[in-house]
């Protein structure tokens, strides 16, 4: 059932660049908070702009209430490391500054997984501590998400002893718990995003313990014409009709017709990609459709509209 989606404790939202991943993450978080869940929206993409979607001013590592019941934060690996060392390693402050941070940076660069574990570790930690009913993570784009979600496992393979090793256990447990944790892929009905979604669904299954729980198809164009109307449109585009309309309107109708033709063909091309997505993805994974928004505004208003569309799709 699609509506179970918000009953998870932890949702990772990913997608190819440009498909509206952050919009959807923000909207899911907003929807959950509107439904009475204490929700944390956590942005872990370095170049993210989650704050824009709530129009709340910049977010930082310390979660801040941006709407009733809705908290937002953005990842800072440095701050995450500090917190980690304080809470998990119980290290004194003196060991947490200066050269260690630099050394850590170095190791994190050389041994991937170390940085990822801090990034993923924070939201998972919030779930473990039960600070929120739901944590929605605006995660990295499709190209990097698998290595991020698989990081605790990779660390386990590389590091055999030491405190880090001890820490990966609970991370793996929570990430792999299908009732607690889910992945949402955002796509648009276009060629490359659909290709990447299909490919990613396979990789997530093969290479991570995290379960794919939904695909949000963003910017779905409306069907312009109903039954039989397209034939009428074709007739109207014939020279005789166009001439009569031009006379009646006192201005050429052609650009408006051309715009309609563009809308029809765009919709048709996209429908083909949607079909491909539907047939390539396991039927048990719900597809949630968000209509193309013909709006000028960005920010909270858009987030609300997408949340509304998702609410309808989830059956609320």
């Amino acid at each position: 059932m699609a509506r179970d989606l918000l009953d998870h404790k932890l949702l990772f939202v990913t997608g190819k660049g440009g498909v509206g991943k952050s919009t959807v993450a923000a909207s899911l978080a907003l929807l959950a908070s509107q439904r009475g869940k204490r929700t944390l929206a956590c942005e872990i993409d370095a170049k993210g702009n989650l704050a824009d979607f709530f129009e709340s001013g910049p977010t930082n590592y310390e979660p801040r209430e941006v709407q009733p019941n809705l908290f937002a934060m953005s990842m800072d690996t440095e701050a995450s490391l500090q917190e980690y060392l304080r809470l998990q390693m119980r290290l004194p402050a003196i060991a947490r500054i200066g050269p260690l941070a630099r050394a850590f940076d170095f190791v994190a660069t050389a041994a991937p997984g170390v940085r990822e574990i801090l990034t993923v570790g924070k939201p998972v930690w919030e779930v473990r501590e039960d600070h929120y009913d739901l944590v929605v993570v605006d995660a990295v784009a499709t190209g990097h998400i698998v290595s991020q979600l698989a990081a605790p496992q990779s660390i386990n393979e590389l590091v055999h002893v030491g405190l880090i090793r001890q820490q990966t256990g609970w991370l793996i447990d929570i990430l792999g718990n299908k009732e607690t944790t889910g992945l949402v892929i955002v796509t648009t009905p276009e060629e490359m995003p659909v290709n990447e979604t299909i490919e990613l669904a396979g990789r997530v299954e093969d290479e991570t313990d995290v379960a794919l729980k939904g695909i949000v198809v963003n910017r779905v164009l409306p069907e312009l014409f109903g039954r039989g109307e397209e034939e009428v449109f074709e007739e109207l585009r014939q020279p005789a009709a166009v001439g009569a309309l031009d006379d009646s309107l006192g201005s050429p109708v052609e650009p408006v017709f051309e715009a309609a033709r563009l809308a029809v063909t765009m919709r048709r091309t996209r429908a083909g990609h949607l079909d491909r997505l539907r047939t390539s993805i396991d039927a048990s994974i719900p597809l949630l459709y968000v209509p193309y928004l013909f709006m000028r505004a960005h920010g909270l208003r858009t987030t609300r509209q997408v949340a509304e569309a998702l609410s309808a799709e989830l059956g609320y």
């Binding site: 660049g17 041994a111 991937p112 784009a141 002893v161 009428v232 109207l236 201005s251 715009a259 563009l262």
Partner: protein, 394 residues
Amino acid sequence: MPKRRKDDERATSLEHLLAAKEIAVVCGSGGVGKTTTAAAAAAMAAASLGGKVLVVTVDPARRLANALGLEGFGNKENPVPADAFKHAGVQPRGELWAAMLDTKESWDALINLHAPDKETAQRILENSLYQNVSGRFVQSHDYIAMERLYEIHTNGDYDLIVVDTPPTRNAIDFLEAPEHMADFFSSRFLRWLTAPARSRVINFASRPFYQVADRILGTQFLQDISEFFMNFQTMYDGFVERARAVDRLLHDRRTTFIVVSTLEHVPVREAEFFIEALDERKFHLGALVLNKVLPSYFRDEGATSVAQRLCSDAPEVANAVESIIAKPEMAAPVLREVGESFLNFQVVAKREQEQRNELAKLPEVVASVPYFDSDIYDMGGLLDLGFQIWGRRD
């Protein structure tokens, strides 16, 4: 081979720009049509400028890869079949070649190049840390793309090389990748890790931060790392020198950057940021290509008033065609829907125009590409796109 570089006049079109350059680096945020734009620019250059043109792509859609004859070739450069142009009805003046960037393969080649001997190369290639570094290292894609470009350029086989850049978390990462790579190898921590084991033990005990590192990572892991880097360090000089050469090439006057964006909010912000970053670092920004722009008729006043009339007075307007079409009663609803659709898209077109106006600092060449209503998957499609970006000054 036709001589194409003539002078250093300011370019007024992509055609002029590419005729004067040897390398074009195509960059921008994900999903804006970067790969297709790179391929289209290269195809146009091969078709109309002549010479030997190479496009290095990162992750083309399968059908585009097919169109370029790239299926299953990996890192190797391959000529695009002349038939591809023939089917598109174009007789190219030059040759188009294409290659894909395989990060892993490129890294392996680099190790083999810089390692002092075969055994060292083998030890590095088999190390599990290396597998991680080459496959997932955050900036390894960025660096290797630039490295590969350097290698191909140095071989001197091509008159023009167009490189697509990998999608990055941060668009400027790859500009700094050569520098990072050099820093990485000269860092103090690396020196410490690769110091002789004995003196490290002494250091280890005497410095609190090493104790901490040991506690967190475990001695075995630290040793794995140090062994790996000890092998790696044999390549230090080669790597650093190479990284600097790559950086010099990117700054060379024969190299230009083409920024690609759509007129959506996020990509535009990123393009803006990127243009500034290029400027600050003194790279040559040659062109901005704006993709998937809605046609200009959406901003036409006459068309707007027609659409508004269709929305408000559809039945009356429909009277005009009553005797012409088969089902006159259906004309009014269709006309109204057509008008509404126009006004819907017009909202988006206006939004795009606002984004466009906000782009303050612009390069010499700005090209707009209208929304293509179907996907580009063959040479004909690439050249259609190519014509759009080629000569116009927007």
